[in-house]
Subunit: 258 residues, 2 copies
């Protein structure tokens, strides 16, 4: 396919390279940051643009890989440059596809359910793609496109995607915050922070083979009040983290009825 | 060393095999479950015992790999069979070494900071060992012993270990609970639960190279009230998980001042 990518942040950066890698052509790539878009455009052999008014018609698909709250305004701007029957998708997990409806007749979502970082390789063969579109033909074509870059493709509508996104917040944003709390406590105690890293890795790996409910451990699920009390006393010095400890301990107790 | 292991649960099972693998001898291994201890004893060529009154003197070290609340009573029982100057350690992160003080002159802790499962290989070269003892010589010998099975050995006293254990609860028990919440929500919505697994893996892998505070993402750190409101409305049907969402969203906001 001949694709234009709007946005060269974490998603646009990795996705555009992957698309080229598997044989698609990137017509144009946009970023407001001129240096950045020129750098990326060389890798993917696309025309770099740093102004939305330079977006050209003729791409088979326009992928808006921009911040959630910018999708609507970007769609409005590029609509002035490309026909209303162009195929346009965004890459957001939490934004309904219908945000594009006022501007385009054929719209959808092309959502890679993964966390991307500028300086980490993205392993696309392990990234689930959640695709949707308002027209059946477009849905099929998006599905086929996703299959060229990942073996894990799902047809997921706006409502289901929104639900999945909430779960993603729990396992990504909230989990990372727990890591940050642990690191902050260890650092402020001048204890080695790397000591918990293997545990973090193994906790994640384990659930590839076991349902997390079946492998829950710790004082909360054991109902080990003595240990919980010792922990709470220690956490007096971190009152905000104490609140998190109390709530999650109660939540675990509630799930297992201990 | 010539070692007796009391307990053939997750820790005793993996630790005894690793000790044999690197050249130590297991004198006896105890489990109340006769079948189980016979099975393990064959792998590690140790005498299986299913009664604590069969514990023999003569081991260089006795490792109590039993549940936290059983350590004291097990120590009391084996004290009747072995001399008071025997070297005795437990493997618990949250229990002070001094729980052994009433029974033995030489006591300590040999704590592998990892989550073990019966049916998963334990990669000891990646497991931090936190060791401590009440005598300097024993401390040195425990340190050397730990170094034979893992390159990551730390001298950590009771107080520091207790602090590290609280952090371990956050990144292991609480994180696993977040996985369980996500799985429960997806399952009750009849959505594919495997769709979030790559995200879980990548979230963990990322912090091997980045401080978690520096890679925090999501609506809470962005201060994206519209998305948070949508999530909270959806979570009306999971009131307990809504509480978790609200608290952790607030906690993230507090950490980043958003």
């Amino acid at each position: 396919m001949n694709i234009t990518i709007i946005g060269a942040g974490n998603v646009g950066y990795h996705l555009s390279q992957r698309l080229v890698e598997v044989g698609h052509r990137i017509q144009q790539i946009f970023s407001r940051k001129t240096d950045k878009v020129i750098r990326i455009s060389k890798i993917i052999k696309a025309e770099p643009i740093d102004n939305l008014s330079s977006v050209k018609k003729g791409a088979d698909l326009y992928i808006l890989a921009v911040k959630d709250d910018a999708i609507g305004s970007v769609a409005e701007k590029i609509r002035k440059k490309i026909p209303g029957n162009s195929w346009v998708v965004h890459t957001s997990g939490s934004t309904p596809s219908t945000v594009l409806e006022p501007y385009f007749e054929n719209y959808g979502v092309f959502y890679p359910l993964q966390t991307f970082s500028m300086n980490r390789m993205a392993e696309f063969t392990d990234i689930p793609f959640l695709v949707d579109a308002n027209k059946e033909l477009m849905k099929e074509r998006l599905y086929s496109l996703a299959e060229t870059i990942s073996p894990k493709v799902y047809r997921i509508d706006d409502e289901a995607r929104a639900k999945i996104h909430v779960s993603a917040v729990f396992v990504n944003n909230f989990t990372n915050h727990l890591y940050a709390i642990a690191e902050d406590m260890l650092r402020s105690e001048e204890l080695p922070i790397e000591v918990i890293s293997p545990l973090i890795q193994e906790t994640a790996k384990k659930i590839r083979f076991h349902s997390p409910q079946t492998v829950q451990t710790g004082p909360a699920v054991r109902g080990d009040e003595a240990t919980i009390q010792r922990h709470l006393e220690y956490l007096e010095k971190f009152p905000k983290y104490k609140e998190v400890y109390e709530l999650l301990t109660g939540s675990i107790g509630g799930m297992y009825g201990s």
